[in-house]
């Protein structure tokens, strides 16, 4: 029985599995718990626990995929979570086509990265913590794609942010990772906060967090157009933060401070794709607002071109790939923005595979050479055969060379953009395609071809162990094959799979198909015939120019730089965006904080101490007053009495007779008075 049949048999149990799909994210979560609590005892074996969990999830994901194929309709499960007065909140998971595809992608890439990390992270001091956090991340990502309501989505969204923070800052002894991890979390936090406001807005309007319900009420027109637009834009802001779109893209290049497998998994394939997934998941809402769609498209398109330009001048292997990722994510957003729902998702899937592959190859190269600076490499092809060929596959796929994966998905997007009628965006997309091909070729030539520029590193170079090259081969194959399901050769099977209303349960089939077919229909075959050659042409042109400059050295690199001096420096410094943020946001808030701190100590405490001091003063003054005036009076009285007493004292002569005289004199006087008054 071939492997295929065995999986098909396994598919027999899907309904039960689909019912409690929570198992898929639960496995990695369990492994995280195990690793955290049995940290020391596990030691190296932590990796095995993590990998086993991920492979388990992979198997379940495949089973779920197959199961969904057979059942044909989404399955949701979950239960009562919270009642708050009129509001009754439910929490649960839904497995639909989009979810199943994402499940597959995430688990495959995560499994590959896990296996790769065993070799790559060997000997790292915090080995267990690395794998624990990786498991937690995988669990959060899986939960994200299955979440059926915005609250759970938000929770897993931020837990992923936490894991990315921890993993970027894995080697926190060095300054760069420390800064990068904080920058990553803060920037994504800005996006998340905007997203929260969007969720609250939708919650206030619809009284629920459930995505399906919200989409349905949006479709039925319960939500006003303004509400939809604002909510969509706010949700998109969250996506911009997470998927590093302009203007919140600054954290991704710095995220390269983390270990390379992390970059491969989180900052290439899964987490950054979460933003695109969010837009896809809430597509039912976006569709009803042209403005929101346009925003997505424009920002996507612009980011694609913007990042591609910077990628052409980066000298760090991973930085090039990072900006390439930002650019490709922009591509996906552009695709979604112009209504090419399937195109966007398709590109997301293919990109995940070959970009993860490229990152892993960069890891193996750095393992061999010890640096990421491409100007210190060269001629490594001969030394690292497997890495070279897998890299080539990935690079070609990215550049969009048919029949590799990248070509098909990029072509779909170009088709969609052309169909949408936004010609400016179309040509920007084509330019991006050209630049992508150009910088990938540049990368290939500088790293693998030509004469080695650093003898020492070249001597030292060696092929990575099997545990690292294995996943490379797997991903390489996928980079080649992954494009087919969505391609014309298989009749856009993926499109139909995603299309049959599974993805947008809330949306009436008609509404959605119209948008998708519009892309195809309007352009019609003529368009397809026109777009295809342009796409291929731009890719080939990019390669030729790249090879000319870096392969054959027809044009001196320095002269090229001198020619475009201003542009070059602009690209080199990443359009000074980082510095801009530093000046506009970071430094002022720190200074404002200091002012508040000082204000608090000086003014308020001052005020309080002032009040204290004033009270002390007044009390002192009162004390003085009290002494002088009141005491004075009292003392005066006392002295007077004493003086009087002293005078009277003389009356007591001690002579008895003087007393008698006084006595009778008194008696006489009273008698006199008596007489005077009475008689």
């Amino acid at each position: 029985m071939t492997l295929l049949e065995k999986t098909m048999a396994a598919a027999a149990l899907p309904p039960a599995l689909l019912e409690n799909i929570w198992l898929v994210p639960a496995l990695p979560l369990a492994s995280w718990v195990v690793i955290t609590f049995f940290n020391r005892r596990l030691g190296e074996r932590a990796a095995h626990v993590g990998t086993a969990a991920v492979l388990g999830s992979l198997v379940l994901a495949v089973a779920a995929f197959v199961g969904l194929l057979r059942i044909g309709h989404p399955v949701s499960s979950g239960g009562h979570w919270l009642t708050l007065g009129p509001v009754e909140l439910r929490m649960g998971f839904t497995v639909d086509s989009l979810g199943a595809v994402m499940l597959l992608v995430v688990s495959i890439v995560s499994a590959a990265v896990h296996v790769y990390s065993v070799g790559y992270m060997h000997g790292d001091r915090r080995y267990q913590r690395y794998f624990g956090t990786l498991s937690l991340f995988t669990s959060a990502m899986l939960a994200l794609v299955l979440a059926d309501n915005f609250l759970l989505l938000l929770i897993s969204w931020e837990v992923m942010g936490l894991c990315s923070y921890l993993l970027i800052g894995h080697w926190f002894e060095q300054a760069w990772p420390r800064m990068a991890s904080m920058k990553a979390f803060m920037t994504t936090r800005v996006g998340d906060v905007a997203m929260m406001i969007g969720i609250w807005l939708l919650f206030t309007q619809t009284g629920t967090f459930n995505i399906a319900d919200i989409t349905r009420s949006a479709a039925e027109g319960h939500l006003g157009p303004a509400v939809i637009t604002i909510a969509a834009v706010l949700l998109f802001a969250g996506a911009v933060g997470k998927s590093a779109q302009f203007p919140l893209h600054v954290w991704l290049p710095d995220a390269m401070a983390g270990p390379t497998p992390v970059s491969a998994l989180i900052h290439a394939a899964t987490m950054v794709a979460a933003g695109v997934y969010l837009v896809a998941r809430s597509y039912g809402i976006f569709m009803h607002s042209a403005e929101a769609m346009l925003t997505v498209a424009v920002i996507g398109g612009f980011t694609a071109l913007f990042a591609a330009t910077i990628a052409t001048v980066m000298t760090d292997f991973k930085k090039v790939l990072a900006y390439s990722t930002v650019s490709q994510l922009g591509y996906m957003m552009l695709g979604l923005g112009v209504g090419g729902f399937v195109a966007g998702v398709f590109h997301l899937v293919t990109h995940a595979f070959f970009k993860a592959l490229l990152f892993l190859t960069s890891g193996s190269v750095s393992h061999a050479v010890g640096t990421f600076e491409i100007h210190e490499m060269g001629g490594l092809a001969r030394k690292m055969k497997v890495t070279f060929w897998t890299f080539l596959a990935g690079a070609a796929a990215l550049a969009g060379i048919p029949p590799l994966a990248g070509f098909w998905s990029k072509d779909e997007i170009l088709l969609a953009v052309f169909g949408s009628g936004y010609h400016v965006l179309f040509w920007m997309a084509v330019a991006t395609a050209f630049l992508t091909a150009y910088y990938m070729t540049r990368l290939t030539c500088l790293v693998f071809l030509g004469r080695p520029r650093d003898r020492h590193r070249y001597e030292h170079a060696h092929e990575s162990p099997l545990s690292m090259t294995g996943p490379l081969v797997v991903l390489g194959a996928l980079a080649v094959v992954a494009g087919l399901p969505g391609s014309a050769w298989m009749g856009h099977w993926l499109g139909h799979f995603l299309d049959f209303g599974h993805t947008l349960p809330g949306l009436s089939a008609a509404g959605h198909d119209a948008a998708a077919h519009a892309a195809h229909g309007a352009a019609g075959h003529g368009a397809a015939a026109l777009v295809m050659p342009i796409a291929i042409g731009s890719a080939v042109l990019g390669i030729l120019v790249g090879y000319a400059v870096y392969g054959l050295r027809l044009v001196r690199r320095e002269s090229l730089i001198r020619a475009f001096r201003p542009i070059y420096t602009l690209f080199k410094n990443k359009y000074y965006v980082d510095e801009l943020y530093q000046v506009v946001f970071v430094r002022p808030s720190v200074r404002l904080a200091e002012m508040c701190g000082i204000f608090d100590n000086r003014v308020i405490d001052g005020l309080v101490n002032g009040v204290g001091a004033v009270t002390v003063e007044t009390s002192a003054a009162a004390g003085e007053f009290d002494n002088i005036v009141i005491d004075g009076a009292v003392n005066g009285l006392a002295d007077g009495t004493v003086a009087a007493g002293r005078q009277l004292r003389r009356a007591h002569t001690g002579q008895v007779q003087s007393y008698m005289v006084a006595l009778y004199a008194g008696a006489a006087v009273s008698l006199l008075a008596l007489l005077w008054f009475l008689l």
Binding site: R649, T653, Q655, V656, Q657, Y664
Partner: protein, 107 residues
Amino acid sequence: MIDLHHAIVLGVLLFAVGLYGALRTTNAVRILMCIELMLNAVNLNFVSFARLAAVSGTAQAAVPGQVFAIFVMTVAAAEVAVGLAIILQIVRQRGVVHIDRINLLKG
């Protein structure tokens, strides 16, 4: 017959003589004696008024006056006893009877 006024005038005069005597002498014992005189003058008045009561009222009415006089007498007796005892002590200790020198209570 005795006239009431005369009796009372006699009492007053006796009292005056006793008072003057007490004031002018420097001998403690004499002072005591004069005080006794003053007391007798008081008794005299009591009796004369008692008599007035008896004359104007029933004989029985005179009794309270006289009873009171009796009490004045007992008090006078007690007073003399104690007075003399004190004076004897002063004489025994200080050997002086001169009233001006007995001024321990001087303020």
